[in-house]
Amino acid sequence: PCLQGARAVVSSRAFADFTPKASFEIKKCDVHRLEEGPPGQAELTREQGLHYYRTMQTIRRMELKADQLYKQKIIRGFCHLYDGQEACAMGIEAAINPTDHVITAYRAHGYTYTRGVPVKQILAELTGRKGGIAKGKGGSMHMYAPNFYGGNGIVGAQVPLGAGIALACKYLGNNQVCVTLYGDGAANQGQIFEAYNMAALWKLPCIFICENNKYGMGTSVERSSASTDYYRRGDYIPGLRVDGMDVLSVREATKFAADHCRAGKGPILMELETYRYHGHSMSDPGVSYRTREEIQEVRSKSDPISMLKDRMLSNKMAAMEEFKEMDSEIRKEIEEAALFATSDPEPPLDALCDHIFHNDLPLEVRGTTPWSKLKSSS
């Protein structure tokens, strides 16, 4: 095979050169009320690996682009970035079907992407343009897609919602599950325990997942929680504590959990140990309550994207050039999406009041004065 300058002509390599499938040891999960947990080994095919890499890297780059646009004041309001946690969103999606359901809190851009919304429509929603997935009316925390219920701004409120979606799955008998995500900060919310109770009582096919990134805004888990064993907090609900930085661990654990639910055994709880590189939101530098050294340590030792890439390279599952080429394609995709997001017009003023109701005749809405009327269409 010949190399042309800095770029490899990848197509000139025979596929036989790459390991098509390899098995990796993954960290054993801590279990609660379970005889056994997910397997300690995970299989990865070359195709899967490239797909997971591409997805995670796209999320990473998209979030960094959002950071940049925010600092340029092109994105305003709330913006909670997901970089560092990519293995969670990718691992979960790899283990479930598109017909399964996902609901999360406000750190939602990664899930919005894995559930099928293109980067272009995510960035345009962040910049508040009409080409955004919610036509510019939702913003960072309110993006929706088929079988993806956002994006929810009120901490913990999405958990009973997720249990309700699971109830619908059971009611309709469709063998689907609902993945219901929340953070370590939300984990102490009373309504979550109310949801645990009803999910267990009624055997709802709900996978509760706590993404424990060690900090609820600026409060470390030790300062917020009398018990930081979030995987045990479901008490009578079986639980797993999973390495959330390893996409294969997340995938295997989620598969295990989905099987549990589909077998009619009721809900299950997973705690994903993960980390966010950014602060809580764009208004938080993220270093007043944790050290730069800690952030740097996680970046260098546990980055989910690097870990996957290193695994694939050391097992000869792909070439360095392939990763570089993907990176370059992703960079281009993000740039194009950002261009769209900054050039697309804002929604027109006469769309301000649309969608107050669903499936209704148009109605008149009071504007700023009693005689200035606005129109609302469904």
């Binding site: 009120i154 958990v159 919602l161 949801a195 009803m198 109701f357 669903h358 499936n359």
Partner: protein, 301 residues
Amino acid sequence: MASLSCVLRSGRVTVRDALNQAMDEELERDERVFLLGEEVAQYDGAYKISRGLWKKYGDARIIDTPITEMGFTGIAVGAAMAGLRPICEFMTFNFSMQAIDQVINSAAKTNYMSAGRQSVPIVFRGPNGASAGVGAQHSQCFAAWYGHCPGLKVVSPWSAEDARGLLKAAIRDDNPVVFLENELMYGVPFEMSEESLSKDFTIPFGKAKVERQGTHVTLVTHSRYVSFCLDAAAVLAKEGVECEVVNLRSIRPLDVETIEASVMKTNHLVTVEGGWPQFGVGAEVCARVMEGMMGPHRPPH
């Protein structure tokens, strides 16, 4: 052909039975409709509104919940998001305060925030306002609080016909509806027309009903206080004062047209409600009437 198994020998129907029959018919009509709340199933409903429904429809569709409003309201809203059509009962609307975040932030605002992608076809119902000596914590009227919020439809039936037509309309509506009943009206019987007993009888939201024509003063009211106004009107009629009684039926949207037409006729307005006066339904009615009288296109009165 009208059929209502609960029609009394007198031909009259209580508000309770009208609600019960409306739910029964809607449960039968659409498999996605279900009822959840405290004591709705095996107890037959704290106020017996859901009597007989559990026996007929079973555990899957008539669901007794633990005493956890925030949790079960969120579950109901989630189920609505996923394609079912829940009726979420609050034993009284005082307890809805525990769940008000789910009603407003999860239900009311979602269709707007999602630009129409995510609808929430849910009915929140239960007794609202004052009862008989139940104490301050169990007597609050929530019409004004819920009536404040876009994305919600808020209705407040008075008669059995109101109850039946508005509840059917609420269950068939693809939007979150707050359905404010009144405990002291449950046992009150009313005449019901043949039309109102038909299976597809619905009352449109945003239309008030003039229960009594009059020329001297307009009484704008809702729920149990329609009865008070009619009683007062009978007393005043003996003194030669003819009251026009407007039963709002709908708090949001408010039927300003009917109110204005009546006030233009009588030149006198009294609002009558069970809620507190400050920032209340009556305050809103007065504000709207005054704005209507003062706009650039309206002659000063």
